[in-house]
């Protein structure tokens, strides 16, 4: 979050009349926490009313949501397990957002990454586990990266809207996955649910010692921190932000915008592809239609709620991982349909976007000027 601290501070330093007061220094940061927070609470309130219309007690709802998400050590582990792919798929939206692009195809990159990782593992069964795992990481990231790069390339060279093309690529990825899983890569032993062969227990990446949380969480945190450093502390990231702020200015100073777009899209897709690899190597053990669990779509919400900041993605992913982890408990205890989590996510998303109108309008945060 230090970046948001930096921006208003810089502004305060530049403008001569500025009073270096607390609000001026930290008002921006407070705003970035307060407004999404208020949107979240508002959305929970509306969801409570919605549930009350169906004759459920909203207080029960909040209690079970808390219980299911953060109430016990067990639910914490469940939450963190779900947060891991969310961090990675959120980066798939947050990184291109620095360039002003709205990429919403994380789900597709996740599926392609999972397929590529599974393929790599199945091709080198006799290799030592570490080699297989590294190959899976490489293949997953390359597969996902190229997939989103396709959307970036279409935008750069053909002028195709990247939002729509990346979303359509999700359905194509799903079709490719089904095609391969039911055809070429099918394990003949999987009768009811077509799947690929298992990658083998030895090649699974396992859990962090002392927990049931798999190593994917560490991958996610590392990827988020690396993205943060890349965007805010390197020349490349600065160039990307310049191009995102004003593309003509970026061209005038000689930045090759096309290369920036393709690289960022590759990194974004690689991150979602890594999420697919993690899901295969830590949870499923094979590729099948279970992988299309909507992590890519929730990742979009995480990125917007985190205001496209790679570091803020981590806590927001944990929060939304908690919401989806509590879905099972809501289903069992309150008899809510499994789609209720999706409804809540949709309401949160709507509130977060509507709250964009509030920035710079909250009286007491403006200071005196």
């Amino acid at each position: 979050m230090t970046s948001e601290v930096a921006d208003p501070a810089e502004v305060a330093a530049i403008s001569p009349a500025a009073d270096p007061g607390f609000l001026q220094r930290y008002g921006g940061t407070i705003e970035y926490i307060l407004i999404p927070g208020a949107a979240l609470i508002g959305a929970l309130g509306v969801f409570g009313i919605f549930v009350a219309l169906f004759g459920k007690n909203p207080l029960d709802l909040y209690f079970y949501m808390y219980q299911g998400a953060f109430g016990t050590w067990f639910s914490w582990q469940n939450t963190l397990t779900r947060a891991a792919p969310l961090i990675l798929t959120a980066l798939c939206t947050a990184l291109p957002a620095q360039l002003g692009m709205v990429i919403i195809g994380g789900e597709g990159a996740l599926l392609i990454g999972a397929l590529a990782a599974t393929g790599a593992a199945l091709m080198m069964q006799s290799a030592p586990p570490l080699v297989v795992q590294l190959a899976m990481v490489g293949a997953g990231m390359a597969g996902g990266g190229l997939w989103i790069m396709l959307a970036g390339g279409l935008r750069q060279y053909r002028g195709v809207n990247e939002t729509i093309s990346s979303l359509l690529l999700v359905y194509i990825a799903l079709a490719i996955l089904n095609h391969l899983v039911e055809g070429m890569m099918r394990d003949p032993a999987s009768l009811n649910k077509p799947s690929t062969r298992e990658i083998g227990a030895a090649n699974m990446i396992g859990s962090i010692p002392g927990t049931d949380v798999h190593w994917g969480l560490v991958f996610g945190v590392i990827a988020a921190i690396a993205s943060y450093i890349l965007i805010y502390h390197t020349v490349f990231g600065f160039a990307a932000r310049v191009a995102g702020g004003n593309i003509r200015a970026a061209k005038i100073v000689g930045l090759s915008v096309g290369k920036l777009i393709l690289t960022i899209c590759f990194l974004a897709g690689a991150s979602a592809g890594l999420a697919g690899m993690v899901e295969v190597a830590a949870v499923q053990g094979r590729t099948n239609a279970n992988l299309a669990a909507g992590y890519g779509f929730t990742g979009i919400l995480v990125a917007f709620l985190a205001r496209q900041n790679p570091l803020a993605v981590i806590p927001v992913a944990i929060l939304l991982g908690g919401i989806s982890a509590s879905g099972g408990l809501l289903q069992r205890r309150l008899g809510l349909p499994d789609a209720s989590v999706q409804v809540l996510q949709g309401i949160i998303f709507v509130f977060v976007l509507a709250s964009d109108a509030l920035y710079g309008r909250i009286g007491f945060l403006k200071g005196k000027s």
Binding site: V102, T163, I164, L167, Y171, A354
Partner: protein, 275 residues
């Protein structure tokens, strides 16, 4: 596939009949999005509108026994979702594409939530007009059973084309889309024009959804749409907002989709070719 009666003619006939069946939702969503985009906004939420329309049409048709009431309910649901989209987009500094994504999640989620009890029962379906009465061959008759909604959609495309060129409302919508300053200078509220355009667009998209659940495939389940709304929005961008072309595209694209259905080994969607 060939079963003797008409031999190889089965294939083009099946493709033709399938194209008419499959294209209707695309047609309605695209025409709706066309109106919305002409007024200067993109509504990606039509995917959610389509699913909500399908769900509410099925529910109302099941409860009242009248599929046409279901179609109306789907349209009204769609218009309400359109109003929500336009309302949020009217706030300053809110990105319409992002709101569309949010409403897509919200619409599909809400439809699955409310539609849970509708998966089991069977609702009365929309009737079809039998254009194949002159033929004895069952395949021909099956291919020529055309739904009224398809015909309405076909008629709507040239009407919209004409309306955008000549009527007061058509010109107003285009002014709002192409030069909002000009519309404001003429004393019109751009936000209001866009609100109405988005609501009409949502109304049409909802009707497209009702076709899915009430005619073809003709049942309600959660995999009903699988991206058809988004494909339709992409179509609109592909044909540069031209409502007559819209119609041709809307029948050509589903033709390729139908080929997908007919040749099960090739599952990869043909959508990208049309991009």
């Amino acid at each position: 596939m060939a079963d003797g009666t008409i031999g190889l003619w089965t294939v083009p006939l099946a493709v033709f009949g399938g194209a008419i069946r499959v294209s209707t939702p695309f047609l309605f969503v695209s025409l709706g999005e066309c109106i919305t985009e002409r007024s200067g906004r993109i509504n990606l939420g039509l995917e959610g509108t389509l699913v909500m329309g399908a769900m509410s049409a099925y529910g109302i048709s099941y409860l009242t026994g009248s599929p046409w009431l279901g179609v109306l309910a789907a349209g009204i649901t769609g218009a309400l979702l359109g109003a929500l989209h336009a309302g949020i987009c009217s706030l300053p500094r809110v990105n319409d594409v992002a709101v569309g994504i949010a409403l897509m999640l919200f619409g599909t989620g809400l439809a699955f939530y409310l539609g849970k009890p509708l998966i089991e029962p069977t609702a009365p379906r929309l009737p079809a007009i039998d254009f194949g009465w002159w033929s004895d061959i069952s395949q021909v008759r099956a291919a020529l059973r055309v739904n009224v909604l398809f015909l309405i959609g076909v008629a709507l495309a040239p009407i919209l084309y004409w309306a955008f060129r000549t009527t007061r409302w058509g010109l107003l919508i285009r002014t709002a889309g192409e030069s909002s300053d000009a519309a404001r200078a003429m004393g019109h509220s751009v936000l209001l024009i866009r609100l109405r355009a988005t609501m009409v667009g949502g109304f049409l998209a909802g009707i497209g959804g009702s076709f899915l659940s009430l005619f073809y495939p003709g049942s309600w389940n959660e995999g009903l749409s699988s991206g058809q709304g988004i494909t339709a929005v992409a179509l609109v961008n592909a044909v540069i907002l031209h409502s007559v072309l819209e119609f041709t595209k809307c029948t050509i694209l589903p033709t390729s989709l139908v080929v997908k259905f007919r040749v099960p080994a090739v599952r990869v969607k043909v959508v990208v070719v049309r991009l």
